[in-house]
Symmetry: D2
Subunit: 147 residues, 4 copies
């Protein structure tokens, strides 16, 4: 059974649909547009998308920092779950976010990459971007504790 | 006039009421309970409070990471504004958040302290706590770019 | 015996002398002036001092960033050891350093405070300063993994 | 003249030899083996190498955290200089280091990538590795202030 196999960074246990279904159930109170969803999942990498609503805007009409950080956290959470499966309760232990460029309104993408998946900690690199993945609006390092 | 004085970490230009009024106008789309408010402002320090609603909960019934990070960012933003005044447009350039303890439902407090207020960057230490300020649920380092 | 007691943030198992003796043995290759030493240890807090030599200077005659970061790491390591004792092998899992002010030549002090001492991770706040503890030259968040 | 052109992330002003010559002059007190050197420079990316000596070892025979952090800082400094040229005095404003895997003795490599080169701040991603670049021993986010 999958649940008995060791955790591995070279195989995933949940695909994009399974991840989205799990998160919709886990966060019943969050609104559409406030959380984003997974569009692709592969070993060591997931891609996510969010279509922020008006509540996500900050002065100047840009997408707010907390929206970006919450989205990066979601992408990292999905990447951990993809590898360890829906059984475990993982929690963020640290999130470092660098704001690099103005985040203009419209769809926002995130690419989350596994830097290291250990038994107790998963460390990930998340790039947040809008029109050009090579010019990210933000970059996050996210550490999750695995129970 | 206040607007012509040099920026100083030893005096504030906006008190708690002025800060709350400014932020309510700056973030017209945010709901009560999603942003928090300033309860006290002094040179080098502000204290803020948030009463998170159900949308702020994560699996396990705890207050979510993005809620905590957004609240820490708001406290840092208020601390910068308190010192530079409402005229300028400050933006977060980096936010590092350490999740230290489970954040149980109920009012959440933040104490934001100025580590350095420079001409171009403000670096702040923010402690987020619930029942005991000496046992913070989270700690943030927040850097704002000052235009 | 101390070694059998649970780890606690409210009592220390090693004082300044014991910490310095342990670290001198653990780092036999490091030179005087490159590592610093503990001057005081108490529950939740240690203070350390370093007298950097010429090799620690960077262009402009200031004390280099790596010297400051290494010193902050040493202070955090000593703070962990003070609480868990010399038996365990703790390793840094993350270190975030904010450079706040120029670090002028001369003795440098560090105050390391325990933010949370868990079973697996210790998270600490370290303030590095020269002449005025209220105007730190740097601030670090250091996370140690406890085996 | 190069000195009058605007700063650009798409062209470099110093190659590996020029960077190494500049840093040798800037850090006259540092020993061989304590600083590392640049092996390749291109727009947006430099690669560096260090051959740490015995003083760089920590308990357990691994390469110490401060050695890794100092090396990552050097790589970031070289990447900034490659783009802005030797005229300007850049200083680190923040360095966040994630320790991912044990760093075994032997040559250590760093790949530093520019995330954003602004007028006032440069933000970089640095990967530190030994035998396999896809399994980094450490990852750093480094921010430099550009005068």
């Amino acid at each position: 059974m999958a649940g008995e196999a060791p955790i591995s960074a070279s195989a995933i246990r949940m695909d994009a649909d399974a991840l989205n279904a799990f998160m919709a159930e886990a966060f019943p109170h969050s609104e559409p547009g406030s959380r984003g969803h997974v569009v692709a999942a592969a070993p060591g990498h997931i891609q996510a998308r969010i279509d922020p609503n008006d509540k996500a805007l900050r002065p100047g009409g840009l997408i707010s920092g907390p929206t970006q950080m919450g989205f990066a956290d979601m992408a990292a959470y999905a990447l951990v779950l993809a590898h360890i499966g829906p059984v475990a309760m993982a929690v963020t232990s640290a999130l470092n976010y660098q704001f690099l460029r103005p985040c203009r309104p419209g769809p926002v993408m995130a690419d989350a990459y596994m830097l290291r998946l250990g038994k107790r900690l998963a460390v990930m690199d998340v790039r947040v971007w809008t029109d050009d993945p090579d010019k990210p609006v933000g970059q996050a390092n996210v550490t999750y504790a695995i129970p």
